[in-house]
Subunit: 149 residues, 2 copies
DNA sequence: GGAAGATTTGTAAATTTGTAGCTTTACCGT
DNA sequence: ACGGTAAAGCTACAAATTTACAAATCTTCC
């Protein structure tokens, strides 16, 4: 199964195909975890215009190409929308996991958010769940030190 | 039932009772929903020192007087801790709800976060759940228009 | 393939935001 | 009331974000 191309993704979201957008989109496609503004910036070629990055991230969010990932740091992070998101409706049923050790935030696509029963009168449209803790990778590192075979 | 006084709250958290803290605490007690840094700032008297606000919010979080409420906006919000929070351990098993209509974010103290089963190897330390949708108040307004008796 | 019109980008400058250092002021236990 | 100490009130800075505007780049339509 071939992954959707960048050109195709941009077109789907009614965005012009430009070099900057291609670069930024490529970064999101390459990394599996959620990226903050700074994360993206670091991965961009030296001297990439900062203003363009601000604008592009905003545009991508507005058009539903990427979505904001909640984070306790207060610093917004972004990740590609894998499920179809229209301009106005983001829909993300999966859990986000932030490792307190390595600091990376991932989408755990395979973990569904359990349904939540809200009090009468509330209407649910979207649910976001952020779990913080130690991720698989960091956990292994620790284990190999603290629990020798 | 009388609500706990500001003086009492500050004392409980080992904080000196000062004018600034009283002002800021009063704002949180007055508003039922979560407030961003900017929200608090706007409600403070003209000319209130910016730096003091930064420091006070930080102190309040550190001492467990208020807790961060995650928000999809990326902008951190804060709300009073109703459950007893010690200096080092915030414990918030409850759900946060953000209304897409009125934009307000509330703590639903009565709704517990269901436990989440993560893949093997992950270790959970903290869980945050944000539900977005239509709140009780906004829902009623709508209902009274769309579903006349 | 090229031109027109609209969008996007690059640049500089203005604003806003978050911190640090230091002095003065205000708490609070004794 | 006194004195040690925490907090407030500045000022100054660096970094982050936004704005304005002209130049460069897309798209569409001949």
């Amino acid at each position: 199964m071939k992954t959707k191309g960048k050109t195709e993704i941009l077109k789907e979201h009614q965005l012009r195909h430009t070099g900057s957008r291609e670069d930024i989109l490529a970064i999101f496609m390459r990394e599996a975890f959620a990226l903050s503004h700074a994360d993206v910036e670091h991965r961009l070629p030296e001297g990439f215009d900062r203003v363009t990055l601000y604008r592009t991230l905003k545009t991508f969010v507005d058009k539903g190409l990427i979505h904001k990932v909640l984070d306790d740091s207060g610093e917004a992070k972004y990740a590609l929308c894998k499920e179809p998101c229209s301009t106005d409706h983001h829909h993300h049923g999966h859990v986000h996991f932030k490792c307190t050790r390595c600091g990376l935030t991932n989408c755990l696509e395979e973990v569904q958010i359990p349904s939540v029963q809200l009090p009468k009168g509330y209407k649910t449209e979207d649910v976001n769940l952020l779990v913080q803790g130690i991720c698989l990778v960091c956990n292994k590192k620790t284990a190999s030190i603290e629990e020798p075979v």
